[in-house]
Amino acid sequence: MPHQLEKPLWNPYFAGILLGLVLIASYLVMGTGVGSSGAANRLAIGAAHWIAPTAVEQNGYFGPFVARGAPVLDDWLVWEVLGVFLGGALSAYAAGRMKLDILRGPRATTGKRIAFALTGGIIMGVAARLARGCTSGQALSGGAVLSAGSWIFMLAVFAGGYLVAPFVRRQWK
């Protein structure tokens, strides 16, 4: 069992304090917090622009991202999320948790799990554009600098999760 070789997770409060320090460092050095969905946004726009340049340039939302040869991918957020990927991989590898698999509940099929992951992702993609950020950029970063809208967003995230959780419970049972 590889599980016995894994390092234990950090105490959540310890992890939280370190997370807070990372956030402070980001604000002090870059003047901005961390983010995540913004990079998915830019990667998707970049890919779509490569496939259908005219349609993307004429789109009211995408247009400004690619207008005048704007660097849609060479953006702080994209680099930052590349870092998140590297940091996550580094930590998982060092802790013996790096493993190619699909995490699912004992009774969920692989197909169902993939469908849920994709559907949830798409819903979050729409939601994050609507709210101008996700749990990282709005709730965490905006919350730390006391933005009223970020706090509203954060409470809404938990409300939405709890409202729907009973209906998708079987995924994990």
């Binding site: 997770l9 950090w10 304090i17 604000y27 493993k99 994709l118 949830g120 992702g121 609507l130």
Partner: protein, 398 residues
């Protein structure tokens, strides 16, 4: 040293991107160690059995808020220079609800999906791909969503400015609330794990208590500078909430200043995108080309000139924190068009005053359009404009 570093130009963009990557590495590392790379750990939050998500997130927010309150209170960092998301009430409320739904369906939020993908969990990778696809869905329906998306904009609303108390005091309140909620969360965990006959998440009590003590101590010292420098921060917050006052500038003065030293001004066209793309004041950028955080990208060292279709009646609320001077072009774009861009009309009476004014006007006209003004018939003085500047290019700007 002025903090934050990047907005104060301590280093340039390439190094900024390196710093961004390193910030991400630290962020991703902490998320993975917190257990956020595994969907079951995250989903447990919503079934009450392991409130890890809430604990880590809220500890992080409280620590960061208290730390920034402390540094800001002592004047070590200029809180006004931090990027603060604007509040769009309804899009953020509905977007938050939807994101919560997506979170529990997928088992990840966008950031944790990335960490899961990095740890080899394919479901995380698929979730992140889904987030990208969601962006495309949003873009496809943007014409229908636009009014809702851009509506209910309240500008930057910081809770401390809203409540009229120092940042550190609100931050301390957040910490106290967090600590109280943690005890509540652990009580709930005991109830739900017993009901589900699962093992309770292991939280080392002594460590928890020490962590709470650290946060409370941070909260206390975050409040201290708030009272020590109360008058200073009170006046600062007063100026930050007040509506920015602007002075008027007429078209000819603006044109002259732009011609002499364009590096002292930044011009923003507030009109509709189409109108702005068609004709605008040279060097101006179009407000509608920018994202909603456009005030953050303005240069604080330059005076800001705004204009619309006619006189702008007031400075947009989101500019409340712009530190420089704000000037409003009298008469809006039509005034500039008439005075500078349209060919000047040669005076019928060739008095000295008329001729001087005409020469100045023609010089500016030539400077900005590259077109020579019509010579005056009687005296035919070749107006002596400076070297003709090329016509302002579409999308020009500094």
């Amino acid at each position: 040293m002025n903090l934050p570093l990047y907005p104060n130009e301590y280093f340039g963009r390439p190094f900024g991107m390196v710093v961004g990557t390193l910030t991400g590495v630290a962020f991703g590392f902490v998320l993975e160690r917190a257990g956020f790379g595994r969907a079951p750990n995250l989903a447990a939050q919503f079934y009450g059995t392991d409130m890890r998500v809430f604990k880590v997130m809220f500890t992080g927010i409280a620590t960061a808020a208290a730390g920034l309150g402390l540094l800001g209170g002592f004047g070590l960092v200029d809180l006004a220079q931090l990027t603060i998301p604007e509040t769009f009430l309804w899009p953020q409320l509905i977007g938050g609800l939807l994101l919560g739904v997506g979170f529990i369906v997928a088992g990840y939020c966008p950031g944790t999906a990335c960490v899961a993908a990095a740890s080899g969990h394919v479901d995380g990778l698929i979730t992140y791909v889904g987030v990208g696809l969601g962006t495309l869905v949003f873009g496809a329906f943007y014409p229908q969503l636009q009014a809702f998306y851009t509506g209910s904009n309240l500008g930057v609303v910081r809770l401390d400015l809203l409540l009229g108390v120092p940042f550190g005091v609100v931050a301390a309140g957040v910490v106290v609330m967090a600590v109280a909620c943690f005890f509540g969360a652990e009580a709930l965990e005991r109830i739900f794990t017993r009901r589900n006959a699962e093992a309770q998440p292991i939280v080392a009590r002594p460590f928890r208590n020490r962590a709470m003590a650290v946060m409370l101590a941070l909260a206390v010292i975050a409040v201290v500078p708030a009272f020590a420098t109360r008058s200073a921060s009170a006046s600062a917050s007063a100026s930050a909430t007040a509506v920015k006052r602007a002075t008027a500038i007429d078209a000819t003065t603006l044109a002259r200043q732009l011609a002499q030293d364009p590096s002292r001004l930044q011009v923003v066209d507030m009109r509709a995108q189409e109108a702005c793309h068609q004709h605008r004041v040279p060097t101006a950028t179009c407000r509608k080309d920018e994202k909603d955080d456009w005030p953050a990208r303005l240069l604080p060292t330059r005076a800001l000139v705004l204009y619309g279709d006619a006189d702008l009646r007031q400075v947009p609320a989101e500019l409340a924190r712009f530190p420089g001077d704000v000037l409003i072009l009298r008469g809006g774009f039509p005034a500039f068009q008439h005075a500078i861009l349209d060919p000047p009309v040669a005076p019928t009476e060739t008095t000295l005053a008329n001729l001087t004014a005409y020469r100045a006007q023609s010089a500016l006209h030539t400077h900005f359009t590259g077109q020579q003004a019509a010579p005056i018939v009687q005296r035919a003085p070749s107006t002596s404009p400076g070297p003709a500047a090329p016509a302002a290019k579409k999308g020009g700007g500094c």
